[in-house]
């Protein structure tokens, strides 16, 4: 009873505006009201609509904080007192990191096991994939006439000075290099990375959508970037300028020689000391429901992980996705080697 009173006071202070968070010395989190607390590396703009829909449906309030770096360190340090229920990341590597660092707990759920294919979740339930996206090729509509391209092609000397890509140390690219290592081994991957670097039109920096903008600006002819950005740009949600960027490119789903298209996931785990474990599982189950998977597809232009869920038409227009056959966990394990390679060839220098 005392606890409830103290906590509801804390809540009221917190609700009085997040201003109160600093003054009240009243930690947000545990509460009499139904809540679920999320630490995420996923940008709030992408995750918010999903959280809002969950609250509308279940009445469970979602408290969230977007922590880009050091998520695992934070949860680890907070230890038993951590208010975190769900830890959500946008990369298989960082998801497995959380598991490896011992800040998660496995949860069993028939709903999750039924909805998510076995290769997109941990056998023991310690992590679950929620959405997926492909690392695709943006090709200049005017200057590159190709219907198909391989990841290997990006190192072809004929594209010298024509390739745009973001930092080689960004998780998206680290995972791609890691997949390359799994396919061809470290030595070949190093050679490839050197070739791609030699083809760069500008420094490997900035974001994914700049690849499209730079192609329109005639800085480069082709590049690698994530699939969902095309949805954001083409839908007009990003504004008229971005529609122009997207008009300058054709999207082709590249493949590895003898493989498929590189796909990475966003996913979630339940925190080890989750104070609202029931709600955490409830949220995960909601996120694989047809409604939420549709939001992933229509709101974020991601590929749903539930096989029968439809893909947004803009993304579907890229053609059928042939997902690469390498194991996601193997890719995550090759991540450190991939990061080392990016350093070694000075990809960003």
């Amino acid at each position: 009873m005392v606890r409830t009173a103290a906590n509801s006071l804390a809540r009221r202070l917190a609700v009085a505006g997040s201003l109160a968070a600093g003054l009240a010395l009243a930690p947000l989190g545990a509460s009499a009201e139904e809540v679920v607390n999320i630490y995420t590396t996923r940008e709030p703009g992408l995750a918010k609509p999903l959280f809002d829909a969950f609250t509308a449906k279940t009445g469970v309030k979602v408290n969230s904080v977007f922590v880009k770096d050091g998520l695992a360190e934070r949860v680890k340090a907070e230890g038993e007192g951590s208010p975190a229920d769900v830890l959500m990341t946008v990369d298989i590597g960082s998801l497995l990191d959380l598991v490896d660092q011992g800040v998660t707990q496995p949860v069993k759920s028939d709903v999750l096991e039924k909805a998510i294919p076995a290769n997109l979740r941990a056998p023991d339930g310690s992590w679950y994939a929620l959405s997926a996206r492909a690392r695709v090729a943006y090709l200049s509509k005017d200057r590159v006439k190709l219907d198909a391209i391989t990841y290997e092609d990006f190192a072809d000397p004929k594209y010298k000075g024509e390739v745009c890509i973001r930092s080689g140390k960004h998780p998206y690219n680290t995972a791609l290099i890691a997949a390359y290592i799994v396919h061809h081994g470290e030595a070949k991957a190093e050679e490839w990375l050197k070739g791609v670097k030699a083809n760069l039109a500008r420094k490997a920096a900035g974001g994914d959508r700049e690849v499209a903008r730079d192609i329109l600006g005639d800085i480069c002819d082709l590049g690698l970037a994530n699939s969902y950005y095309v949805g954001l740009m083409r839908s007009g949600k990003g504004g008229p300028e971005q529609e122009e960027w997207a008009k300058a490119i054709n999207v082709v789903l590249p493949t590895f020689q003898g493989g498929g298209t590189h796909v990475n996931i966003s996913g979630a785990t339940v925190a080890k000391n989750a104070p609202n474990k029931g709600n955490a599982v409830k949220l995960l189950e909601y996120l694989v429901s047809p409604e939420a998977q549709d939001l992933y597809a229509k709101g974020n232009y991601e590929y749903p992980v539930v096989p029968e869920a439809p893909v947004d038409p803009i993304i579907a227009a890229f053609g059928p996705l042939k997902v690469d056959n390498v194991d996601l966990v193997a890719v995550a394990k090759a991540r450190k080697a991939a990061a080392n390679l990016a350093d070694k060839v000075g990809f960003d220098n």
């Binding site: 505006g17 940008e43 050091g70 907070e78 800085i219 000075g346």
Partner: protein, 554 residues
Amino acid sequence: MTLTVSDRSAPPRAPGHPLLRAATGAVVLLVLLPLIALVWAALNGSGDLWPHLIANVIPHALIETALLVLGVGVVAGVIGTGTAWLVAVCRFPGRAVFEWALLLPLAIPTYIQAFVYVDAVHPLGPIPTLIRTTFGLAPRDLWLPEVRSLPGCILLLGLVLYPYVYLVARSAFLVQTASVLDAARTLGVGATEAFFRIALPLARPAIAVGVTLALMETVNDIGASEFLGVQTLTLSIYSTWLNRSSLPGAAQIALFMLALMVGLVLLERWGRRHLRVANIGGRSHAPVRRPLSAGQGALALLACFVPVLLGFLMPAGHLALAAWKRLQFHGIPQTILVETANTALFAAIGTALALACGFLVVVTLRTGALRSGLALRLAGLGYAVPGTVLAVGLLVPLAGFDNMVSHVSQQLTGISTGLLLSGSGAALIIAYVIRFLAIPVGGLEAGYGKIGPSLDMAARSLGEKPGGVIRRIHLPLLRPALGAAALLVFVDCMKELPATLMLRPLNFETLASHVYAEAARGTYEDGALAALLIVLVGLAPVILLARLSRPQHD
């Protein structure tokens, strides 16, 4: 007024109050807390990290960082000192405006400056588009300087960091000018010669403080260098850590960086070890500014206008335009008011605490409760630690404390207190204080340097108690230094990003974290309004700062 340049004259020592000493000890301990935690973490070993770093990362990063530091030092030093001199001792059209306008770039965070320039100089940006359409050029026909490069980064950082130098250099010139320069002039020394032979050497300690602050910001910068693709030591090593998720590795790296930074500071101090400048008694009177000829005046105006244009007007204008476009497209984000309030409130609390702690440390030293300047150096250490690393270092002890308190409370009363500090935002404020304590400490130390020891002696010989000396003599004389430090800390807290990202509680956003979240998603134009607000909220303090640092009889 008399100025002496003497060799190590020590201020008089009065028996210090033990309470002061204890309080200073507590402040120093607070600053050392994350560092101790880092040392502890570093001892856990990191396996194969170092051979890789030494072979593949550090050599390139060291060169890149050295060039960056050198470049920014020169750009910020020259712009800051040059404009400070013009504004302090010359009379030319617009001088009164430039006196405060030159500070405006302080309000622009480096990461925002980088976004804006990449945007503006892109072939599709407004300026190149204008040039292209005027001359009917294709994108590849128009050569543009690449902003995503080391020179680009040097220029952009120099443009936003020169006010650190300008601010201190101007005060130094203002204090000197009156008597020394008048005297020099009556002896027939020309303006140029007076600047290089008298004013500059006398202002060197102050300029060094300003340049050091600018360089610390440079070395710690992650946002701008990441966006511009410059592989600085901080960035390279930082991403190596992230790709390996190893706290021990991060800690070792942080300590390595810290050693380099301390080296930088020691080098700077060693360089001026024989120089001690004090203003013994008297008050500075308003300098008589030298009128410039029409041609010289135009040049001076141009020299002051260009940094303001490139460092502030251009980026702020571009942001305003982008924000306006987004407003029409998306409307006002609902959360923006709360974020603005959060930002201002946290920055204000952080500033007040940093100032109090800084004053405490400096006063303790002045009154002789502590014999060495070691406490000062230690208190300023936080500035040398990258924000992210500081945050990681703080997480462990603060959350440990929280859990302990909660545990005890649970045992005694049955009530779990949860995460008192790390769950409430208090952790963030502590981080601000530790991170920016160097500014009040440095500023007040410099301020005290100008209050001659003879003043204390005179006051004491007239029967004033040590507390009275502080209250009735030091504080009024320190007011400009206190004000300047307060505003710098405020602006810095407001712009702070890495520690904010890692330590803020649930459902708590500041303007900076908002801008960053949009930028991380690649939709930085959606962050334009928040970015503009950082600039606007930062403007008031910057203008105040300019007023405050003006001599009283101006």
